[in-house]
């Protein structure tokens, strides 16, 4: 852009907007961005900033209908109970399995999908992706049925056929966890495959060609080239898996609503919901949310540091 043009443009606009403040406003390049950002500001203030302050305030209060009293740290002290610990434990175990399963397997699947020998790539990619279109509730309904308790229910009937005893899936801690983890893995697998596929596209082919010349086999190429080169994607998937794990709620709700035997399905978000809406303990729920918020922020800062969305430009 040459300077003369800018001046020409300025005089042009000045001519057009002469003496009309409304016209001046709609042509103003200074005001325009704020006009465009107004909806964002409004939503941010009403549905984010204020709720954050309110959350901290609520966590120091005992909230009953019509009256609210300050109780200092009582909610935080009350938080230290066995139900909460179980919720934290379940959330962590769940997150652990999600990471252990949903990183290496999609990475391997993506690598195989990317193979030049495989035809119908798009078909297989779609097949893996389709479960993620289904809501957790709908998926859970069918998982719940397949993993029914009787010998005739699908999964149990398979177990009986290969000589195992039928399981009461929704009653035990280990089997309950298995249900939640497998429901999530079924839904998320295809999404992670697509992330890794996108990552694979950015690996220069010359690296593999060089490895071929050195006589490397497929396994060596996978561990020496693919895995290290996929590190940024892997970190990204790791972070979203941790986030997904921390906020887990639906996978448990669909199997037990909010009343799992011995808390086997209780998660941190489930505990917040239960306290606030089933037991009317809003303050305690808020205190737990504050802890969760701080956790999310710590992980988020880690994410920013390693990904640097700020570094982008």
């Amino acid at each position: 852009m040459k300077p003369q043009e800018t001046t020409a443009q300025m005089t042009q606009i000045k001519k057009m907007t002469k003496g009309n403040p409304i016209k001046k406003m709609i042509f103003s390049q200074k005001l325009a961005p704020f006009f465009f950002l107004t909806p964002f500001f409004l939503v941010f203030l009403i549905f984010f900033l204020y709720p954050i302050f309110e959350l901290f305030r609520m966590s120091f209060q005992n909230i009953l209908i019509g009256q609210t009293e300050w109780v200092g740290l009582a909610n935080y002290k009350q938080m230290m109970n066995s139900h909460f610990y179980t919720a934290v434990k379940n959330t962590l175990i769940y997150t652990f399995w999600i990471i252990v399963i949903l990183i290496p397997i999609p990475m391997a699947l993506a690598t195989l999908l990317n193979s030049k020998y495989l035809p119908f790539k798009n078909f297989f990619k779609s097949a893996l992706f389709i479960p993620s279109l289904v809501s957790v509730i709908v998926g859970g309904v069918f998982f719940g049925l397949m993993f029914g308790d009787t010998e005739k229910d699908f999964i149990n009937s398979l177990l009986v056929q290969i000589g195992f005893s039928p399981q009461q899936w929704k009653l035990g801690a280990a089997t309950g966890m298995f249900l939640m983890v497998s429901l999530n893995c079924w839904r998320i697998l295809g999404i992670n495959v697509i992330y890794f596929l996108a990552g694979l596209q950015s690996i220069p082919n010359s690296l593999y060609e060089a490895a071929d010349i050195d006589g490397a086999n497929a396994v060596q190429k996978f561990f020496r080239i693919t895995v290290p080169m996929l590190k940024p994607v892997t970190l990204f998937v790791l972070i979203i898996s941790i986030f997904g794990g921390l906020r887990m709620f639906e996978e448990s709700y669909v199997f037990w609503k909010n009343g799992s035997p011995n808390d086997i399905g209780l998660t941190i978000v489930g505990y917040v919901y239960q306290q606030a809406f089933d037991y009317n303990a809003m303050g305690l729920g808020a205190a737990v949310s504050v802890v969760l918020l701080l956790l999310a922020l710590i992980i988020g800062m880690f994410q920013l540091k390693y990904f640097g969305a700020f570094k982008e430009d």
Binding site: M1, E5, I26, F27, P33, F34, F36, L37, P39, F40, L42, V43, F44, P51, E54, L55, M58, L112, S115, L118, P119, F120, A127, L128, F129, I130, P131, L133, V134, S135, V136, V138, G139, F142, G144, L145, K152, D153, F154, S157, W186, I191, Y195, A198, S202, F236, F243, F249, V254, V272, Y273, A276, G285, L292, A296, I299, F307, A309, F310, E312
Partner: protein, 280 residues
């Protein structure tokens, strides 16, 4: 034994492997589909197995759903309305913000962009209790607006549009301005058409999220008539299995529209989710 044979073996093995994997992954859909055609009594007494005795298959569950399922179609209607408004509203309003952050230079731009990134890190679930209080205060509990408003501008969508618009040629705007185009006109008539792929990708992602959204609607929607599909279906789940017929057919019909959308707009799905964080 040439190069050719080896690659044929590789090809066959890969195809077999992915046919097997696809089969496992898609199997629940078969179960979903077939079980809706089984008599509820059989499901209740024999559990869910995948045997398919053709002579017992029946459409009674679907007939029941369409004749008795008034509440189900009410939920369906609610879900459609909420999904449409959330999708259109959030994509347009978020595109405003993303566009402004990409095109204009103004004081505080980096700060606001940093804020958007920060918001990406805080899941709405964490704020559900104070948000619920806000909704009580605004009188929006149990309304469409209550479900929609917190999502009407979405940080993720802002981020996407900002990344997209930053790659657009700004010179076009300059010349449009000389021709007397207003700032909004530049957006609506020149830049928005150039961002159509972004609108496509984000519409699909937002529609999918809204259609499947669970926790927030569960909190805000209190009455049976105002429920969305996932909330309504969840309310049918009971340990006694007395709602099987409606639950199974109802769930199946929930999946179909989104499946159709997916088949038509596949590539938008892929571009929509990959931009999330994987920088090329």
């Amino acid at each position: 034994m040439g190069q050719n044979t080896t690659s044929k073996i590789k090809k066959t093995l890969l195809i077999l492997f992915f046919v097997f994997t696809s089969f496992i992954v898609l199997f629940p859909f078969y179960v979903m589909f077939i079980s809706g055609f089984k008599p509820a009594s059989e499901l209740f007494s024999n559990g869910l197995n995948v045997s398919m005795a053709l002579d017992t298959l029946t459409i009674e569950n679907y007939i029941y759903l369409f004749t008795e399922g008034k509440e189900y179609f009410r939920w369906y209607f609610n879900s459609i309305i909420i999904t449409i408004i959330t999708t259109i509203g959030s994509v347009i309003l978020s595109s405003f913000a993303g566009y402004a952050l990409a095109i204009y230079k103004f004081k505080g731009r980096n700060l606001i962009f940093g804020l958007v990134i920060f918001l990406l890190l805080v899941p709405v679930d964490i704020l559900m209790l104070p948000l619920y209080k806000v909704m009580i205060f605004l009188g929006l509990v149990d309304t469409y607006s209550g479900v929609i408003l917190p999502f009407i501008v979405t940080p993720f969508v802002i981020f996407f549009f900002r990344q997209y618009a930053i790659g657009l040629p700004k010179e076009i705007i300059e010349s449009a301005r000389i021709d007397g185009c207003t700032e909004f006109g530049c957006y609506a008539r020149i830049m928005a058409p150039m961002m159509l792929p972004a609108f496509g990708a984000m519409s699909i992602i937002q529609a999918m999220n809204s259609w499947n959204n669970f926790l927030w609607p569960l909190i805000v929607l209190r009455s049976n008539e105002s429920m969305t599909l996932p909330i309504g279906l969840a309310s049918l789940i009971s340990p006694y299995g007395n709602n099987y017929g409606m639950l199974l057919t109802g769930s199946t019909l929930t999946v179909i529209p989104i499946l159709i959308v997916f088949l038509f707009f596949q590539r938008y799905f892929v571009s929509g989710i990959t931009v999330g964080g994987v920088k090329g």
